[in-house]
């Protein structure tokens, strides 16, 4: 934790409510996000118990698996999920705009501009916490290799239609969620914790109810008290609260359930379902389980949308649209792969793909850090504290020129600052100039400030473009990090994988992974 965050947390302790950790919203928030609150069966990691899903906060769709060990009931759940989620995910596929992109012409080897489609918007899935993101990944993995009766008439347990397709989409969302700054699949706790600092630890911030209590406490109660109550309060003894005795008054936001709920209410209800002899008994038992599961899901559903309300009040950061465009590219790319009939994502990436993913995530991380600082003075303040940026007033500008045949303007600018940047000889610094970046290099420390030599952003002429050289009295913020960091060198094609990384894949191995063999005791 940086000192800035630590300080913000302590201010929150003293104030009794969360303090801002950002002044703008650093993630894209769709006008019509889809919320998904899943629950799993304890101990059977990945076996769904139920879910609330939908884009309308007042009309979520409830899906429940009355007996998670029953394959048909699980399939019914997955089919229901596909029915609820797939139209939303695919609904953005046809609204396109065109973008110009440079591509290498295979015949001439030259870079030529091509017009490509880019989806105008993309879907956004919101889950309550980090566990929800992992669950989406697991669901995706369990579904994408399934075979429907149409694809494979010989399949012993054919999956309902659309289930494998939903698996591919969920896998894509979960994979995209690993890219720093992406917004296709977001966890509400991460989103809120990015924008507010609470007076509790990061571990405790994983509890969505407690986190919201710190950020937006009820009237007349401090955030600290409200968070404690939300986290721990249980229904009193049986005399006053009936069957809910001992249960958490505010159930956890999944995917794991409260063990007391499992043991006291859910287990007997499932036993009744298993023991049901007639259709009527079975229906009654199922209704009971649906009620129980809904009682655990609804609070999380409400909390999630409260989080959305809070986030909407923050103005969007300047670079958020740029990062969302990258999400739209990823969405468009996946849409094209599905349309081209490509096989589902492999179980394990090959060496080149893995290296590519890692490199692109590193670039995305560097880009995110730079953009967040440029969008938000509070983030920039943390970078200034760390010596990675400095702000100050220009005290002197001396015109100078480079040596060489064609002298270029290289003005010396002195900046007075109270910051202590880690600059020394040859360090390059950057500042925003209109919609471009101006670079400079460190020259010397002088008694009245840091002397910089401007090296760019002044045009090609002999004289600098008007307005491109700061004037005395200007207040500027320079960063030691690049504003638009680029990735490293290109990686080879999979066919040219070096022997150090396993060599090229043997012929004929580029076929899809086989589906998981069904066994009698499958969980998903």
């Amino acid at each position: 934790m940086s000192l800035m965050t630590t300080l913000a947390r302590m201010e929150a302790v003293a104030a009794g409510r969360a303090q801002p950790a950002a002044t703008v919203r650093h993630r894209h928030l769709s006008a019509r996000p889809m919320a998904l609150v899943p629950l799993t069966t304890a101990g059977e990691a990945g076996a769904p118990l139920g879910a609330l899903v939908g884009t309308d906060r007042d009309a979520p769709r409830l899906l429940v698996v009355p007996q998670p060990r029953d394959r048909d009931l699980r399939f019914a759940f997955l089919a229901g999920l596909a029915d609820a989620v797939l139209p939303y995910l695919e609904g953005y596929a046809d609204g396109v705009e065109t973008e110009e992109r440079k591509e290498t012409d295979p015949e001439t080897g030259k870079k030529v501009p091509v017009e490509v489609e880019l989806c105008a918007d993309a879907p956004q899935l919101l889950v309550p916490g980090a566990g929800g993101v992992e669950f989406v990944r697991l669901l995706g993995r369990s579904m994408r290799f399934r075979r429907t009766a149409e694809q494979d008439p010989q399949a012993p347990y054919p999956a309902p239609p659309h289930v494998p397709l939903l698996g591919r989409w969920l896998t894509h969302c979960a994979e995209r969620a690993r890219v720093p700054g992406s917004s296709m699949l977001l966890s509400m706790t991460d989103l809120l914790a990015r924008h507010w600092a609470t007076g509790q630890s990061g571990l405790e911030d994983q509890h969505l109810g407690a986190l919201l209590a710190w950020i937006d406490p009820p009237v007349g109660e401090s955030g600290a008290d409200a968070a404690l109550r939300v986290e721990l309060e249980r229904f009193p003894d049986a005399a006053s609260s009936g069957e809910q005795a001992g249960l958490l008054r505010h159930p956890p936001s999944g995917p794991a359930t409260d063990p007391v709920f499992d043991n006291r209410l859910l287990a007997p209800a499932m036993a009744r379902f298993d023991a049901a002899r007639s259709a009527v008994e079975r229906r009654d038992a199922e209704r009971r389980i649906r009620e129980l599961v809904a009682s655990q899901l609804e609070p999380a559903w409400q909390l999630l949308w409260r989080g959305v309300d809070l986030l909407r009040k923050l103005p969007e950061g300047g670079h958020v649209a740029d990062r969302w465009k990258r999400d739209r590219w990823s969405y468009t790319g996946h849409r094209d792969r599905v349309r081209a009939g490509e096989p589902p994502q492999p179980k394990r990436d090959d060496a080149v793909t893995a290296a590519q993913k890692l490199a692109s995530r590193e670039t995305a991380q560097a880009r995110l850090e730079a953009q967040e600082a440029l969008d938000d003075p509070l983030v920039m303040a943390a970078r200034r504290l760390a010596g990675e940026a400095f702000a100050g007033e220009v005290t002197e500008v001396v015109m100078a020129r480079s040596e060489g045949r064609r002298p270029m303007p290289r003005p010396l600018v002195t900046v007075r600052t109270d910051d202590r940047p880690h600059v020394n000889d040859g360090v390059r610094v950057f500042r925003v100039l209109g919609d471009k970046v101006q670079s400079a290099e460190f020259v010397a420390y002088e008694p009245d400030g840091i002397v910089l030599r401007l090296t760019g952003g002044m045009g090609q002429g002999k004289e600098p473009k008007p307005g491109s050289v700061p004037e005395e009295g200007d207040r500027l913020c320079w960063t030691l990090f690049e504003h638009a960091p680029r990735g490293g060198p290109a990686l080879p094609d999979p066919e040219a994988t070096p022997w150090t990384h396993g060599g090229p894949p043997p012929e004929g191995t580029l076929v899809a992974d086989a589906p998981d063999p069904p066994t009698d005791e499958d969980l998903l």
Partner: protein, 412 residues
């Protein structure tokens, strides 16, 4: 810091009676611990999970004493009105047991297959088969004795032996802990492997890192205890080439057995536990001696709940809280997932304004400032020494933060 555990074991010569293998516990300490726990109360067993948690927070005197004395921390936490937040769902319990039964079925044939598959240097069992000694006995001491006998036999037998739920003991801060590994496999070459059976899935060869880490720490505790036992069985002579003896018998990789993908079929993954072993050994050695902690308590301190016939505590809450508070704790948010008393310790830690309540890493940058109040006063410039680097960075941080929030500086 000297290794108090190591200084007690190994004994100079192999000991004859299995009882003598138990760490010597003085009669006085035993009485003192019984008094702390309550004379009517049976000691709460200290398992590997608790030990791994204790090793993760070796500075906590409260946990060391309560665990060492066999106090039921969950009951104590309930009695003082701060019950633990975690529990086990019966679904998880049933699933865990069913999977373990499946793995152990057929006299462990599946397990041996996994062992052979994952270790290149072990031989598959021949026609002589696998021996599965019966280790049932009444009482922990008797079970430990059976385990020792079975292990001695397995070391000399030229065949595979699988010990299901053996009982081994480990001296923890001066009190013996009885541990029950899932399975210990002894190969024909005399090497032992700790087998951990867990019910979280391994999907496409990877599993939840936090869960694998916890399993590895647990396995390390078992390996440590087994090593001590093997030392007592073999005596102090060092290993010869090809014939391992003592602690060398214990493989530094444990076998983690989990369900594969979305099925109930077991898959085995060797987990290197050398690091966890070293950490556990060091942390256990660092544990403050329970005797010392017990001696520092005020006369008459006890955690006895004086349970009524229905199990509810009759002891006044004030008295219990006072007793708990007489031993120092070292709380950090990680405790919430590992210790039954964490909710109580957290409220005390927050109440005193300790900075650790916000996370263990917070302390690092704050130098000598230990309370939230002193940090905020230092940041505001009303307290603290300007020349202290922690104080001066805090002041700069506070100034920069205030400036940014007031919207006074642009970020570009």
């Amino acid at each position: 810091m000297n290794a108090s555990l190591d200084s007690r074991t190994p004994a100079p010569a192999p000991q004859a009676a299995p009882e003598a293998a138990l760490p010597r516990q003085t009669e006085a300490l035993r009485l003192r611990l019984a008094e702390l726990r309550g004379p009517e109360t049976a000691p709460y067993p200290l398992d590997a999970r608790a030990l791994a948690a204790l090793a993760a927070n070796p500075g906590c005197r409260r946990r060391a004493l309560l665990d060492g004395a066999g106090v039921d921390k969950a009951a104590l936490a309930r009695a003082i009105g701060s019950p633990a937040t975690f529990g086990q769902s019966q679904f998880a319990f049933v699933r865990g047991n069913a999977f373990e039964a499946r793995v152990g079925a057929d006299a462990g044939a599946e397990l041996v297959r996994l062992l052979v598959e994952t270790h290149r240097d072990v031989a598959a069992p021949g026609p002589e088969g696998v021996s599965v000694p019966d280790l049932t006995a009444t009482g922990q001491a008797a079970r430990a004795a059976r385990t020792r006998l079975a292990l001695t036999e397995a070391f000399t037998a030229d065949r595979w032996s699988l010990l299901f739920h053996p009982m081994v003991t480990l001296d923890v801060a001066g009190a013996p802990a009885h541990l029950e590994p899932d399975v210990v496999a002894v190969g024909p070459d005399g090497h032992c492997t700790v087998v951990e059976i867990k019910s979280f899935p391994v999907v496409d060869g990877s599993a939840d890192a936090a869960k694998v880490g916890a399993a590895a720490r647990q396995a390390a505790v078992y390996a440590l205890a087994l090593g001590r036992l093997a030392e007592r069985i073999d005596g102090p002579e060092p290993s010869h080439r090809g014939a391992p003896r003592g602690t060398d018998r214990i493989r530094p990789t444990a076998l983690l057995v989990c369900p594969r993908d979305f099925s109930n079929l077991p898959t085995g993954e060797p987990v290197d536990i050398r690091k966890q072993l070293a950490v556990t050994r060091r942390q256990l050695a660092r544990l403050t001696r329970i005797e010392e902690i017990a001696a520092s308590l005020p006369e008459g301190t006890t955690f006895d709940l004086r349970p009524a016939a229905d199990g509810t505590a009759t002891r006044p809450v004030d008295e219990l809280v006072h007793a708990v508070e007489s031993v120092g704790a070292s709380y950090s948010p990680e405790c919430l997932a590992a210790c039954e008393l964490a909710i109580h310790c957290r409220s005390r830690s927050r109440g005193s304004g300790a900075v650790e309540a916000l996370g263990r890493s917070v302390r690092g940058e704050l130098g000598g400032l230990t309370t939230v109040e002193s940090v905020l006063l230092a940041a505001a410039g009303t307290q603290g020494d300007e020349t202290d680097p922690a104080v001066s960075s805090l002041r700069r941080a506070a100034a920069l933060r205030a400036e940014a929030l007031a919207g006074e500086t642009p970020c570009h």
